[in-house]
Each structure stands twice: as structure tokens, then as C-alpha cells.
């Protein structure tokens, strides 16, 4: 039986949930495959996450390794392959608590950066987990700034080996997943030296543990970096290298090579070494950022139609909290953002695929654009979604704060996405650098990529909207975003030039503009996200029911952005105060409209109860019963704490059992 308060929400859906699900999946075949994978995984007790919220770091790690190993078997059993249609749904079905993600990045690095010979040697072993790999880039003292890495790899011409060293404590590799306790090998990034000359950072395959007994190899110091805010299941590790020798063949050499005589040869951009990171940045968005925010919305919105609190109409039953404007204003923009970023993911995937095709033909021309936008969107999407999950958590009040709600672990995990694979501010500034370059080029009449041609036409203008309904026109708001982004980019470019012309050194001038440059980069990404959403809705013409609600969400996403960044649109008078009041009115009007479909809109994400693992977010809405049931399973209720005998009993007034 389903709680009637949530059941009633489903009876009034303005569209078919199943149709929306299928459309989001990209076709009925995909939906069928996804559900089959989820079913196969969730029905297998080896993959259970039932006790996850009660487990220690050691237990989480052990369970994650168990699952990773069992997954190998399962895939074989089910006939799933890395190239099959099922593959992309497995991680979603596992819901994250599985080991050896870095092992897969190890594989991806070798596949992308390794020579054919290296691929032939390492990939089969790695694919069968006959070795466990890791990806050792970050050091204690260096993260996003890769050029600063301090690990060294000196080519010894006499033995045809590289000698790897950790010259000081800050050079110790720190954070790589799967490295603390599992990995036998790693791709370690180090400064390559040949005959005293430094050739920059390169990747080397290094064995760190014995395959026979898992003991550390000679010259290796490694271990686990200890507790983190989440990722208890991952053994993020440290690694120090003391004169560790690897053969010449262990430097990944698809794009460059050290020849036996010490000659260094390169084919193509050195930047290609970072290409694994670009690819990871894009692929993490879906599983690690967008899926979690979709889950958080599902949990918070379902809970908000079951939770009744306070009187809305005097004398009536307490209202569902989703009927309060403030609750709508917390949750519905996050829901709209979840959809917006779901669509942005497709946009980035396409950009990536196109670039990759060219790279395989050794054409690196699209790399700067891909790098700029994968960086910018990684920053914008992770930042936005992290706030969104926090908002969802807080919108569930006290119960959201219980681990049993599922929200705290979604939050503590997604937060890391703002930091790993490139710190967000640094990434935004890389986007900004590209935008400023394009702006200068466009101003000089030079050609620029299509995504930034608008930079050629930045000028003072005013928004033509006359009433609040005008702001429900995608042309009106997309134009507003475009103008705003263009203004921020051009005014920052102007400030930069002014500073340089007034004698400030280039690097100082850049630094003095970085707050505004980061804003400009965000503005560009926000503009593209709005434009892409509107375009996606436009293409939906054949499915009227879905198009209508998607249009509402697109409007909400756009107007919420204007409402909450009002200053950027008011600053030069593009919008007047009166127009901003229209935006606000249209924005607030949308809330009760979307609220009616809020539950169907999250149902369409099609998460199972097991995948949500939330006492608040289950499909049936039996929130309080589930919280109570789950709480009783807590280890804190298993026995009387020793604290009673040790500390409390001697104090308590025990003359009488009752006072």
C-alpha cells in the first residue's frame, strides 16, 4: 500500500511518467536494458547496501572490494561486456559503493596514452583484474597545478630504465584511489629527466605491491590516507618512491617516447597527457554529480508531500510542506537544474566525441575548446549540484540530517566533485582564459568557435519584454543570459587591458581580475545551459505532454537564475527594476504549476527504493515507519553501552529505582 498523500500526487500527473522516462533514457530499448541491469544487480544479495549507513571505514572498504570482485563474475554470468549496452548502467545500479574505479582509470590511461605494444601487454591483465591499477597524479603538495609535480623520473641510459624518486615529503603521491590498500600497480606522473634536462610531466607504469603476497615492492612506501568526509569505501592512498626502477617500456608512449639513446620524441601536443583528465571530467558528471542530484530531488520532493506541518488554511488539516511557497522555492529550482544538467551532459558528450575523433586523426585543434568547456561545466555543474543537494537535505529538516535519509552521504560525496579532477576556481579561470582570447579574436574580426560567436556583438541594449508573460519566452531569457555573459566577459577584458595599459604587469593584472573572470566564465556556462535546455525542449515537438512540462522547467531554470543573480542583469540597465519585478512574478507563478507535477517529475527518474537507500524517499511514502524500523537496526541499539557500567552507574541516585 502506498501512503495516500503520495498516491494522490500521481493521479493528477499532466503527462505520462513512463513516456518521460523512456525519453530521458533515449528510447525504450535503453529503458529496458537499464531496468534489466538494475534488477540483476539489486536482486543479488552480494551487492546489498542495506547496512551501509552503519558500517565503519574498514567494513565499507571490504564490502566495496567484495562487490568489485563479484562484479567481474556477474558480468561474465550475465554476458555483459565493456562494449555492450548494459555497461553504462552498471555503475548507476551499484549506486557507487564499489572499489576499483581508479583501476578503470588506470585502464583508460593506458588505452589512451599507451602504445599498441603497451596496450597489448597491460590491458588484458588489468581487464581480468590479474593486477589492480591506480592513477597516481596528485601529490601532497600539488593538485591541479600539474606542472608543479615534484616526483622525478630520471632516465638511466646504461640500464635503459627510469629511476623514480620522491625527493621530499610534499612530493609524496596523496589521494589516489585504490592505492592505499588494493593496487599492485599504478600510473605515476613524474617529471621526466634525460641527461639532466627536464622534459615535464609524463606517466609511468610502476608496480607497488607484490602479486604473490601483496607486500610492498622494494623502495615503495604506501598506505591509506585515513578518514575522509565520504568515500570510506575507497582506499585513497599515499605513495613514496625511493629509487624505484622501471624499464624504458613503462613510460606511456602513444604520443611521445624516450628512445634507447636518450632521444626524446613527441608526436602531437604535450597537453594530450592531460587528456585522461578531460575525459574523466566529463564522464564523472553523469554518475557522480547529476544522478546524485536527481536522487536528492526524488527524496526531498517525495518527503515533502508526505510531511505535513503547520496550518496553511486555518482550521484545516496541516498542509503538505510542498504546498508552502518557500519549500517550492527551495526544491523546484533544484529539480529544474537536475534536468538542465542532464541535458548539458549530452552537449558535452557530443563535444568530446567529436574532439576525440579528430585526435585519433592526430588533429588537436578542438582540444582548447573542449578543455575550456569541460573545465567550466565541470565547475559550474558540480558547484550548482552540490548546493542543490545541500538545499534538499536542509529542506527535509531534522530527518534530512539522519544518515538514514540518504541525503548526508549524497552531499558529502558530491561535495568532493567540486575539488577532485581539478579545483573549480582554477577550472573556471581556464575557461575564462579561453573566453577572453575568443573575445579579443572576435573583436578583431577573427574567426572563433560557434559557441562564442556572440562575443563579436556585445553592446549596450535593453530587454524588450513588456510584461511578465514575455519572460516565459525562451528567446527573451536566452537573449538576457547571452547579453549578461557578453557584458561580463567584455567588461572584464576591458579592466584587464586598462590595468596593463596603466603599467600593471600582465600576471598581476590577471590576478586582480580573477574574481570577475570566474564570474564571467560561470555566466557563459549558465547561458549555454539555458540555451541548450531551450533547444532540447524545442526538439520535443512530437511529444506535446512532455514538451509542456519540460518548457515549464526550462522557464523555471532560466528565471530562477535571473531572480537569484539579479544584479548581473540590472547592472547596465539591460533589465529595469520593473522588468525584474516581472521576472520575479513569472518565476513565483511557475512554482505552483510545477509543484502539481513534482512527484511525477521525480518518479520519471526511475530510481528504485534500493538505489535511493533512503527512509524518506521511498516510492510508497511510508516515511515514519521506515525511519523507526531502520533506526532499530542501528548498532547503537544492539547492546547497553559499556559507558553505563563504567561511568553512569556510579553516579546515579540508586537508592530508589524511581524518583
Amino acid at each position: 500500500t502506498v501512503n495516500p498523500d503520495i498516491a494522490s500526487e500521481r493521479q493528477t500527473a499532466s503527462f505520462s511518467v513512463e513516456k518521460l522516462t523512456v525519453w530521458l533514457d533515449g528510447g525504450v530499448e535503453n529503458t529496458r536494458t537499464r531496468r534489466a541491469v538494475v534488477e540483476a544487480i539489486e536482486s543479488d544479495p552480494e551487492f546489498s547496501r542495506e547496512n551501509q549507513y552503519f558500517q565503519s571505514q574498514n567494513e565499507r572498504y571490504e564490502a566495496a572490494v567484495r562487490k568489485a570482485v563479484h562484479l567481474q563474475k556477474k558480468m561474465h554470468e550475465m554476458g555483459w561486456t565493456e562494449n555492450g549496452p548494459e555497461y553504462k548502467y552498471i555503475y548507476r545500479a551499484l549506486a557507487g559503493d564499489v572499489a576499483f574505479l581508479l583501476h578503470h582509470i588506470f585502464i583508460r590511461s593506458i588505452s589512451m596514452l599507451g602504445s599498441d605494444k603497451q596496450i597489448a601487454k597491460w590491458i588484458p591483465l588489468a581487464s581480468r583484474c590479474q593486477l589492480i591499477g591506480s592513477y597516481a597524479q596528485t601529490e601532497l603538495g600539488h593538485g591541479t597545478y600539474l606542472q608543479g609535480l615534484e616526483t622525478t623520473a630520471v632516465f638511466d641510459i646504461t640500464t635503459q630504465e627510469f629511476i623514480l624518486n620522491t625527493p621530499k615529503i610534499s612530493a609524496m603521491k596523496w589521494w589516489p584511489g585504490d592505492m592505499g590498500r588494493s593496487a599492485t600497480h599504478t600510473v605515476a606522473f613524474a617529471q621526466l629527466y634525460i641527461q639532466g634536462k627536464c622534459y615535464g610531466v609524463h606517466p609511468f607504469i610502476v608496480q607497488i605491491r607484490s602479486l604473490r603476497d601483496h607486500s610492498l615492492c622494494p623502495g615503495i612506501t604506501a598506505g591509506d590516507i585515513g578518514p575522509k568526509m565520504n568515500f570510506e569505501h575507497v582506499d585513497n592512498g599515499f605513495l613514496a618512491l625511493q629509487s624505484v626502477r622501471v624499464p624504458r617500456e613503462n613510460m606511456l608512449s602513444k604520443f611521445c617516447e624516450v628512445q634507447p639513446d636518450g632521444t626524446y620524441v613527441r608526436w602531437g601536443s604535450q597537453k594530450i597527457n592531460y587528456f585522461t583528465m578531460t575525459s574523466v571530467r566529463i564522464s564523472l558528471l553523469s554518475d557522480e554529480v547529476i544522478v546524485p542530484v536527481m536522487k536528492a530531488c526524488t527524496i526531498a520532493i517525495r518527503y515533502s508531500v508526505v510531511r505535513r506541518q503547520s496550518e496553511l488554511k486555518p482550521g484545516e488539516q496541516e498542509a503538505k510542506i510542498l504546498d508552502y511557497q518557500t519549500q517550492q522555492e527551495k526544491l523546484l529550482p533544484q529539480l529544474a537544474a537536475a534536468y538542465a544538467f542532464y541535458f548539458i551532459n549530452d552537449y558535452l558528450q557530443e563535444l568530446f566525441d567529436n574532439t576525440y575523433k579528430e585526435i585519433q586523426k592526430k588533429n588537436f585543434d578542438m582540444l582548447p575548446e573542449l578543455h575550456a568547456f569541460s573545465s567550466g561545466f565541470k565547475a559550474v555543474v558540480t558547484q550548482h549540484c552540490t548546493s542543490a543537494v545541500e538545499i534538499c537535505l536542509r529542506a527535509c529538516g531534522g530527518h534530512g540530517y539522519s544518515l538514514l535519509s540518504g541525503l548526508p552521504s549524497l552531499y558529502t560525496k558530491i561535495l568532493a566533485s567540486c575539488i577532485y579532477e581539478g579545483e573549480n576556481t582554477i577550472l573556471l579561470l581556464q575557461t575564462a582564459r579561453f573566453l577572453i582570447k575568443c573575445f579579443m579574436a572576435a573583436s578583431a574580426g577573427q574567426p572563433v568557435p560557434p559557441s562564442v560567436t556572440y562575443l563579436a556583438a556585445v553592446k549596450p541594449r535593453r530587454c524588450p519584454a513588456k510584461n511578465k508573460l514575455d519572460f516565459l519566452s525562451p528567446d527573451i531569457y536566452t537573449e538576457a543570459y547571452q547579453h549578461m555573459a557578453g557584458r561580463l566577459i567584455s567588461s572584464t577584458a576591458a579592466k584587464l587591458q586598462d590595468l596593463i595599459q596603466s603599467g600593471v604587469k600582465k600576471h598581476d593584472a590577471w590576478n586582480q581580475c580573477t574574481v570577475q573572470l570566474a564570474q564571467a566564465a560561470k555566466a557563459h556556462c549558465h547561458y549555454i545551459a539555458v540555451k541548450n535546455f531551450a533547444k532540447t525542449v524545442e526538439k520535443l515537438q512530437t511529444q506535446a505532454g512532455i514538451q509542456k512540462i519540460m518548457k515549464h522547467l526550462c522557464d523555471l531554470f532560466a528565471l530562477h537564475g535571473i531572480f537569484s543573480n539579479a544584479g548581473a542583469f540590472l547592472h547596465d540597465g539591460y533589465l529595469s527594476g520593473a522588468q525584474m519585478d516581472m521576472v520575479t512574478a513569472s518565476y513565483l507563478d511557475l512554482l505552483p504549476i510545477i509543484r502539481k507535477d513534482a512527484v511525477p517529475l521525480v518518479d520519471a527518474f526511475d530510481f528504485t527504493d534500493k538505489s535511493l537507500n533512503s527512509a524518506l524517499g521511498s516510492y510508497d511514502g511510508h516515511v515514519y515507519q521506515r525511519l523507526y524500523e531502520w533506526a532499530q537496526k542501528s548498532p547503537t541499539n544492539k547492546q547497553m553501552s559499556p559507558a553505563y557500567e563504567k561511568y553512569l552507574k556510579p553516579l546515579l541516585h540508586n537508592k530508589l529505582s524511581k524518583l
Copy 2:
């Protein structure tokens, strides 16, 4: 030895750190006392927090009880009393991980709401921990909306008892601290029924566990609610009551009473029942919100002068990350806010003391204002400080995400402050209700409290500032905040009236304005915070060195608020776009000025290393060494995981130990 990168920061301080510390403490006597308390507690190994980041929920709880009990002994030993000058420093010195906070709220409730007879009976027992109390207000189905509580207390005239019941699952008490495993008694809030008539929510003392063997009393179901995002050391509990009888004398009866014949008598406002909550709301700000944000700033700022990353000037040594404008813009406004809210705490304490004095004379007139502003500031300060801690965490990159940085636990703990003791949105709307009332009264020429007299004079105006230096004048920016708050309150009041006049029902109209009402309440509090900071700086005339840097911080706090809420100031043209550019310029100019004193400014908070418990934030700046040392102590490094033998060994290629 101190890391030279942090040592150099201290040599150039523009003021005496010691003098600032003393001033913040309110005099040298206080500083001395505080340091003595901290020294006494930190030198006692029973209070050590050394392994805290490695402990399970059960271990944290046990340690917290041990500390709470040891504290009783320690206080006796040291001659510290609840009325002595040392008392207020104890909690800060313990740094939070101690049990029985709710026991103290139990004591406070009885002291404030109990009759003299009740106080005489219960307080001595409670003070000696001969019983452990809790405070059972929140239920599974009800939090902030106390009128909706479902627990019942029916007066049985024949036995002169109240019969307490949990009529349904949502009525179960849920969340009360110290209740899951420790408490023997609680103050339970329940709907009072006398002869079928409901008299609303009242507090009752209920025994829940035997004093002899700690078993649950008849009719009691209780336990721990399981894992949370933090507060592992607290046994937040659940409690169901099945026909539990307590004597008539157990209803707290300072302000109302049920007489033997069933007559209900009240002296004074019913709202006084919530007075404990008002008092808790104010007192939690200092220890649970402002101290944590000061700690987070200390950790992040110290780390940011030790961490060097990337080239700022080409060819030079990598720069301290605090030299980047973006890093300054993340951290320094949080530092300014920490100071601003430290001063607001004094403001609220004074308001509370004055009100309490009147209440003791049975004059309840100031209660609405106290309630409105304690609510509003609780919401604004907790929200602002929670974001601030998150910003500090993220500003430390990956290492901030390690529990060993201390930042994750500061964050997960402070986040709860947005929820407990009144959900923030609800609280803001209570503030808004008061402001709207005052605005209506002021518009009608009626008297209003001094803090809101500005509402009588809201009208269109323009800011007189002519250049960026004008924005360093407290009059200019305080005026801007005042105008902005007044405009938001008056325009929301107008919208409310328009809706009602157009036929929308009052409660619907209110709901449709709540997003804007919450904004208006925040704006008022922000204005008061700026004004109070400026006033505090003004009073500092005798200490020129400190006054100068405090003035900078006050300017930064104010301008950061305008910069990041630009829309609110631009909307009606109070500030022009050109003036906003001046604000931005002045704001950004302040960053490098304050950056010079950033380390001394956090040093002045005078936290010991033990109290920070952070591998990143220690006084000596030896960040990397400490991270490495601490990581090695992690239980994940104590032994090879059973996962190797069980899962990995069978898979790995073991023909050769080395590939």
C-alpha cells in the same frame, strides 16, 4: 620551529595580536581565566580528542559520557562552579565532544519553568548527575510547529496524575539528545487535556529508565535513532509512551498549574513555555556557530599561507595561495563575518538579559521583539556561518576534505544548527511577521521598538556616494543597507495588501509572499549586523591599531554583502551601475589590505592546536608532515584488510611477483 612561510606572516602584523585577543575576550582578566581553563582541560588526558576522527559512533558516545562524568570531578577539583567566571569557557575548551548537553537544558527548563518546589526537588539531583535528564519536545512528525505535537497528557483527577501517551507513530519523540541511551528522566512536551478539553502543549517531568539498573520504565519504549551526519557522540533518541503516569506535581508550573480539582490556572503568556527555546537559540550561537566559523577561518587561512601552488609571477617560486585574489575573496569575507557575528552575539545577549529581567517581574512586553530577533539572527547567522565553513573547507582543496583537516566535522556539525532549535525558514518568517506588523504600525504613526523606527521613513532615494572611497564610509553603507531592508519590507507589505485587496484570502496571500518575506527578514538582520559592527568599531577609539584593522573588516563585511546581493541595491536605483562598480572596486581593494593581517587576525582568536584538532591549521604550519603522521595512525593502516585474502588474492596474477 615554525614554518617560515607562516612565521613571516606574523612579523608584519599591523596591530598587537595579544591586545586584540584581550579586547575580544572583554578584558585581560577574562583572557587569563579562559587560558587557565583551556590549559587545565587540555592537559588532562581524559579529555583528549586525539583519536576522534578514527572512532565509531559507539566509541564517540562512550568517550563523550566519560568526559561528561570526568568533568563533574574536574570542576570539583578545580573549584569551578556554574556561577563562576570559568564556567563559560569549559565547553569551548572541551571543543564539543561531551555528553549531557541536553541534561543541562533539562536543568535550564526546570529552573526557568519550574515552581520553587520543583526546583528544590529536581535541581540538586540533576546538578550532581544523580539523574540524567533530557528535553523531549520534537516528535517524528513535528518539529518547529509545536502546536501540532501529538503526545497527550490527560489529567486523571481520581489519582491526581497525568497519563502520557504516544497515540500514533508520528507522535513518537524523536531526536532528543542524551535520550537514546543515557537519560533516566526527561522533560516531555505534551498536549494537556483536562476533562476532555485541550489546553495546549505543556512540559512534564517523566522518568524513562530505572535508576537502579537503567532498564526502561514500564510503558516506555526508547532507543537511539542511529547514525547522523555528525553528533556521533550524542545519543539522540526516540521515545514512545504507553499510559505512563506521572504525579500532578510533575507538570512544570512556574507560569501555570493544574489544581487538584482540575482547574487550570495560568500566570502570564503561554508563549513563556517556549522561552527555554529562545534562550537556547541565543546561547547556541556562540559555542555552536561562531566559534566553529572562527576555527574554520583559522585553519583555512593558516593553510593558505603555507600551501604554495602555481606561478603567480613567471619564473618565481610558486605563490602562497592566499596571494591569489580568488582565494582572498573566498576566505577574507568569512573572516569578516566571523567578527561581525561575534559582535552580534553581544547585541543579542544584551537584548536577552533585558527581556529576562522584565519577565522575572512578570512583564512580557519585550518578548515579541526578543522572539523575532533571536529567531531571525539564529537563521541568518547559522546560514551564513554554515556557508562560511563550507567555503573554508573547499578553499583547502583535497586536504580540506580529509577528516584530519578538522573542517569536515566542523561543517557537518554546524549544518545541523540551521535545522535544530527552529528550522531557519520558519524562523525568518516569524521575524518577517514582526517586521510587517511594525511597518504597519510605523506607517500609521504608532510607536515601534527603536530597532525598527527606520521603517517609518521608507521612501525612494539615491545613494550620495561619488567615488569608490565614499563606500568606505560606514554612514554610506549602513544607510544603503537600511534603505534596502526598508524597501524590501515595504514592497512585500504592499504586495501582501494588494493580494488581500484583490480578494485573495489572508493565509494564501501570506503564503504567496513568503519567499519575499524571508528575504526581507534577512535584509533587516543584515542591516543590523552591519550597523552593529560599525558601532563596535566606533567605540574602539582608544585602541587605534585595533580600530584600524577592525574598520577594514567592517568595510569588507558590508561591501561583500552589497557585492554579492547587488540586485537588492540596484533594483530601485538606490545604487547605480556605476556606483556598484565603485563598490566592487573598493571591495576588491580591501582584500590585499586585509590579507596582510590575515594570519594575525586568526591568531587573535587564540585557539590552541588541540582545540583546532587540525592537521592543516596548527600554529606552526607544518601541514604536510602532520597529515602524513596522522594518516599513519589510521585504523585502515593497522593491518592488511581481510579483503585481500578473501577477494583479491584469488584473482591476482601470481605466477610472478613482479610483472
